[in-house]
Assembly symmetry: C2
Homo-oligomer: 292 residues x 2
């Protein structure tokens, strides 16, 4: 049985007769091949990447598992369409909090048409892409059984400023989040989600090390999905926090050059996350607490 | 006595009645204040930076010393004009080889006018700025007493491709360079100029560490000047190899965000320099030599 992904926070969504990805109960995610060439480019990436022996083992975990393609009834009712079969990144998650962060201070690439470049450039300037080197493309933050998820509408996300992004990165790991509240996010989960040897920051640093060296691929307009089990955390268990790369319709060969556009944006995000962790340490030192 | 700098490889040059910087015999460099606002912006940067206690001591050495301003007869004969007084970076150098590398995959900044952005973008796309995250803006390579310097004309430098840049970075540290030659650069000076604990690579890495963290300044359209005493090297002495940042007419406040544009380009340059050094090691292992 195919259904619409419950935890999709950005991209085309398969509702109201529109074309979008589907999931099944076995933990697989079916992404329809867009017919403007992007679908086949993404498929080519997955094929090339999954058999590329130059990619180190520790880096593969940052990518969804690729299972091939399958003809499926498209969600828009247009009939059979090839879909890319991927790992459903949220299938084992209970009430996950998720951020989709599009990395890079430009989403276009040199070989693109002038019209495409101008279109992207306009959006890059209108969002935090140019200023921060990344933009939040979508998110959901699970609050509680009573209030459910905070999942701002696309329009709201697109209008995020530098200050909104700073605030969202804090809210993402805070216990006192609620819609419309002006409370200063307490970041009480930061050390367990962003920090620690298996936390988000360590994973971002591991990716960064690869990006400083790899000249295989240039990941234009790719996103980092950052997610963790908010439910586990609320119940006192250790949340599994994960970083995954998604959306490869605009990946090009690196041709011996590092992906400085992705790397720069990644370093900017790392700095924001680090600052949240170090502000915790400072406040726990000030308050005389030994816990962070 | 003021004179035209002998070793200037990029920017406005004070010849043929044009406005450009001057030097004197005491090791000072006088840069005229451009009256379109850029001069005063650069002056403001030097004033702010030189008294900014947040800048670590080990980072100051990458910047020219700032001595204030002075009214001087402008080189274009237009009369008295304020000049920024800086350290002349080449005053102690005998036949230095020099590269001016403009860092960043964009030279414009979000706050600029649309017309300015389009003008910069066009040049960024026409050069290696977008593809490499940096472009060579000028260079001179000292060859020998007989052949003097290889100093390609501005037009030639502006047409450098990715392959030209790769080749120039090798020629810069080779003994078999000569104009128009198709010989594969031997990189025989690479380990003494790029490598070693005081070499160019170590300096670039030290700068990189600061750029991963600093959120004080965004260095748009800045250059790294990379230089060493070719004469010393040819005479068997250890060359002093230096990295300096120059050209601060487009520096803006960082406002809590790292300069991901500069950092990305810097990492790309570092990768090129590292590869030259590692290719040396590989070839010395292959040839059974212990020297690189």
């Amino acid at each position: 049985m195919f259904k619409v992904p419950e935890h999709q926070v950005a991209g085309h969504i398969a509702i109201d007769g529109k074309l979008g990805p589907l999931i099944d109960d076995s933990g697989r995610f079916y992404k329809p091949l867009q017919d403007d060439g992007r679908g086949s480019k993404e498929l080519n990436f997955y094929k090339s990447f999954s058999s590329d022996i130059r990619v180190p083992d520790n880096i593969r975990k940052f990518f969804p598992v690729f299972y091939g393609t399958q003809l499926l009834e498209a969600s828009d009712g247009s009939g059979l369409l090839p879909h890319i079969i991927l790992q459903d990144l949220t299938s084992d998650r209970l009430n996950p909090s998720i951020m989709d962060v599009k990395i890079g201070s430009r989403t276009w690439y040199p070989e693109a048409s002038d019209a495409y470049i101008q279109k992207c450039l306009e959006k890059d300037r209108a969002t935090t892409t140019v200023s921060l080197g990344f933009r939040i493309a979508g998110l959901q933050i699970y609050e509680s059984k009573e209030s459910g998820f905070w999942k701002p509408a696309r329009k709201e996300v697109q209008s995020f400023t530098v200050d909104s992004v700073r605030s969202v990165l804090r809210k993402f790991v805070s216990s006192n989040v609620s819609v419309g509240s002006d409370v200063n996010p307490d970041c009480s989960f930061a050390s367990r989600v962003y920090g620690g040897s298996a936390g988000i920051l360590e994973q971002l640093l591991e990716l960064k090390e690869w990006f400083e060296d790899q000249t295989l691929y240039h990941f234009h307009s790719c996103s980092l999905l950052i997610l963790f089990d908010k439910q586990s955390l609320l119940e006192g268990r250790t949340p599994v926090a994960e970083v995954k790369l998604i959306d490869f319709a605009h990946v090009l060969e690196g041709k011996g050059i590092i992906d400085h556009n992705f790397l720069g944006g990644l370093c900017s995000l790392i700095k924001f996350v680090s600052e949240i962790l170090s502000s915790l340490k400072e406040s726990s030192i000030k308050s005389g607490s030994t816990e962070s």
